[in-house]
Symmetry: D3
Subunit: 233 residues, 6 copies
């Protein structure tokens, strides 16, 4: 259930019977032909779909994350690591104050990894609260499904090209892009990266048939749901 569809009194009731909550972590950044908000949209969608049958509330996604390497692509918003860590700390402080004791951060963007470190260090001063940082897109089953379709699938390829992220007026090529060279990419500055990446896809098919998409999404939702269920000890 979305927090946006609840008021504080309803949440107060919920907290008398459960103490789990989900916050999706997004990013607004280049995703080739797809929406600039892919990571935000998918993190929120997978979280809501996973939480629905469990009745666990889901906060609106934090739209912005850490993505300096895409800074030269128009529209990209990148928070500095320090800023991001503080956002995570303040968020967790607030959730703990509300009475949540088991918190899942469903992350949609690789660059947001410092949130995992932030959550771990926050738990050191909040030993009574559990925080799980969870990358929905590279969890074992989801990743296995993606690779079974196309082992080179990556950023902005078909695995992120879903009904909620593609744009009516910006069709993706019916093609398969060769994977980028990560070793080279990692030492490029922002301008070099923009030139090197071209449209921004990191490799793999730009699109796959609807049934392939659906199967992947189904795995992702179920794997995320399992995380919400535990283990919590």
């Amino acid at each position: 259930m979305k927090i946006a569809d609840m008021n504080w009194m309803q949440l107060e009731s919920y907290l008398q019977q459960d103490d789990r909550v989900v916050v999706p972590l997004g990013s607004v950044e280049q995703h080739a032909y797809l929406s600039l908000a892919v990571d935000m949209i998918l993190a929120e969608k997978v979280a809501v779909d996973a939480a629905e049958p469990l009745g666990i509330p889901v906060y609106p996604a934090i739209p912005f994350g850490v993505t300096p390497y895409f800074a030269a692509f128009p529209g990209t918003v990148s928070l500095r690591v320090e800023t991001y860590v503080r956002v995570i700390h303040d968020l967790l402080d607030s959730l703990a104050r509300s009475g949540f004791k088991r918190i899942v951060l469903v992350n949609g963007h690789g660059g947001n990894q410092p949130a995992a470190s932030a959550a771990t260090e926050w738990m050191l001063s909040n030993p009574g609260v559990k925080v799980r940082f969870y990358n929905w897109w590279n969890a074992p089953h989801t990743l296995a499904n993606v690779r079974s379709v196309d082992p080179t699938s990556s950023h902005a390829s078909w695995m992120e090209n879903l009904p909620w992220t593609r744009l009516a007026d910006a069709p993706c090529p019916d093609a398969r892009k060769a994977p980028i060279d990560y070793q080279r990419f990692h030492v490029m500055n922002a301008a070099q990266a923009k030139e090197y990446l071209g449209d921004g896809n990191f490799g793999g098919w730009y699109q796959r048939p609807a049934e392939v998409e659906n199967a992947m999404w189904q795995v992702a939702v179920e794997e995320t749901r399992a995380i919400l269920q535990g283990p919590w000890e």
Copy 2:
């Protein structure tokens, strides 16, 4: 137009003909019987409605703001001032890097006022970019309209009770609440504030007829649109 409905290439095209952009600033916090996300929903909605005919892109709202006084109400998320200022700085740095030169922060929450200070100090080191911080809810025409309906209208009253923020399963009272005493409220700690505020409404009618709502919203959208148009010098 929502940024979420654009890809980076489309935004690159836009930037060749215009350099304006909007970022809504929200808050997730108690709003009595209404959605916990009222300030986020309305800031984003008024921004999108205002920007639509001008073709100016609108980022997803930053959901969380500064709201320590509501900390005792479950669901409230409050960023510390330092954190919030950093988020604003990083956001503006990113937008300037993309090539935006005229940025409007459409704010939906009074506690987010430090973003105005953050924007002004940011302009000191970025003299070529203009940032306007804009509170849609207390702009002169909108405020006049609200007060003409009910001079005591405030937080969580009818002026925020709109089709996009009310909850099907949580009807608002058909009543008018007496205004709170702000002098007392401002020195209360979070626990005292929760007790004092009761349901959380700060005063005024909980609901008004649809035509009153619509008229208010119309004024707000037009006043916000005028801000996007200028002056910018």
Copy 3:
């Protein structure tokens, strides 16, 4: 009573009978023909005058505040918002450690508003201490008095031209300046602002007769004193 006129033993005695204290917040910045320290001088003076008959100690004013928009005027000192918030937090920590439980920040400069947010968030972790942030210059009675004399009075006009802030060798014009356009001013960078503002007065009479000044000051002192008296719950 000024803290500067007390030693720690005297303050220790005071704390056995009262727990109120005042800290004035100033700014060193352009004030047209008047002293660069207007905001510091008046905040401290109104605080001392108000506190005198109540026997409440008053700290020396913090001279510097947040005023980036005046950065192009020589002499202006502006602290960044983050810095200022930290100063306020450290100050409040220190006062609470001394045993003060009711603290009034008497503020003389509009740009210092983030101190109000800082104080509120500080109270969240210090629920046993009350902090009131108080703008002496726009409190209701004082503002009403000022507007009754000249509705356009503003920064560096007669309302700040008092015996303690005017300079013997820099007489003010006997004139009334047209108000500035705030919408334009708020998106100007520092250099544009300096050019636009001319001498720096924001509008209104540069000077008024002594009896008008005195009457205004009397209202301000009494209104500030009332704040020191409460309510504190």
Copy 4:
């Protein structure tokens, strides 16, 4: 000349002929029987007296410094080192923006030493501006004079007991206190330090005759003045 006695236009004129400026650094903290503001008062007074014949402007003292070891004495205000460093950086940024190129920080409190480090690191990114951090009370000639009177003179002894810092209603003992043991003091926590220090004097005569005071002050003013004169290369 005090900045408080100048307006921005006068300062603009000054900057066409000189680029030196002084900022006194104080502390509000226990000084035994003397004013809680000793370090602020003396730093500002010695700076103003030294600068007077040279026509160099002097800012109001920053009242608060770094003094955690006196935290248990009522009235003490201590900024954290990080806060203080930021204040110094922002101050220097502001002064450089005004056009000052030779800045003297006249410091009145030993605990403010991190300001020296802050100034040095600031110069690394501002190679065209010189900042001298100057402890007026332990400069060679002043210290020699103080020690010639009483080699054990220290915090809150006669060397700080001057017409501007003593309190009419709090006479100092006509006695000489044995010096404290610094090795022990440095590992005491705040509560232990308060108990150990008694009235707060660190050792030496509480008072000396007026001519001794005057002679010391004369040395201090002249030594400070020499610093303002250079060398600056």
Copy 5:
């Protein structure tokens, strides 16, 4: 070559012919029966061995990293993420100032991952300098070698039990520990983690024969050396 074996004049000469440099990143934390400084020792050793034939200078390792999950084991030192990011930024600023243009951070501890993010965001403001963050222990060839010996090898197992990290007076068991459950470990607080981990080994053989150790180390050194050689574009 170790920086500790050079003076500034020798480094100045080096910089006229090459612009590469290495900084090892360590951690002081529990490593079961092995030295508390394993991560520091191995990062520095692999860096020095790799750099030797290339003549590239190697800084002393930063001993402390980010390791909050081991906080309950005596001896563990953990920097907060914010602190660590600042250390990395300051380090890179310093190296760039010296004239280095290709910098390798050879990391010995998984928790230090935020340094990778810090390096990437630093490159955004320093587009002329390349920084490669390199985990020597999970680079492809090294990891393949480790897994070929024992697929469950992990923290504090044989792969870190080398002549430079084992202690004469603390022999390791001749045994193979079952791997821990990472899902459970990641939501444990520090006290629970200490209890759960027992001696601290995460799984795998505690020791392997010298020739197995040597072969692994050889792979690691060569793979690290290859990184120093490029690609750098």
Copy 6:
């Protein structure tokens, strides 16, 4: 005993009988003909030699300190004051968590003085733990010994030219350098400082006979050892 020669179980045993620990503070910076790591090497060596007979564990030195004035000499790494203060705070938090109650920071570099302030302010929130900041090189007996050999000895002179810091391939001159003018040095920017300092020695004999070195070191080790022994109250 070096922490690097202990595992966590051994340290846990130690903590049942003693609660003292040492952390050396170094700097990597120009030292004329000597190793760039002089301050790190000597702080660690004097700490280890002093602690040895007492059985007190010694952490690896923090290699980097605060040294902006040497920034123009290749190889120098300087942390900003804020960064350094955070490192010290995090370190002390970690040591306190391990159970250490008496901590000595053996400092080898004058620029690291803010660590003393950081330690003192840390004790304010950790009143049960004692931290002594100790400059081994200007402690009374050591300094007296150094000055008895050569009163002008300073940075990079014979007092730092020891078997562990000199380089086989970089012989020091057999000469005595005239002392620098500190007043001038302190207002120089980094480029001016590099030019002014020449080889980097601040004055005094570059080298002294082995027996002079040994005698000095003996005094330093014993004086440091006495500090470890107390007083601690």
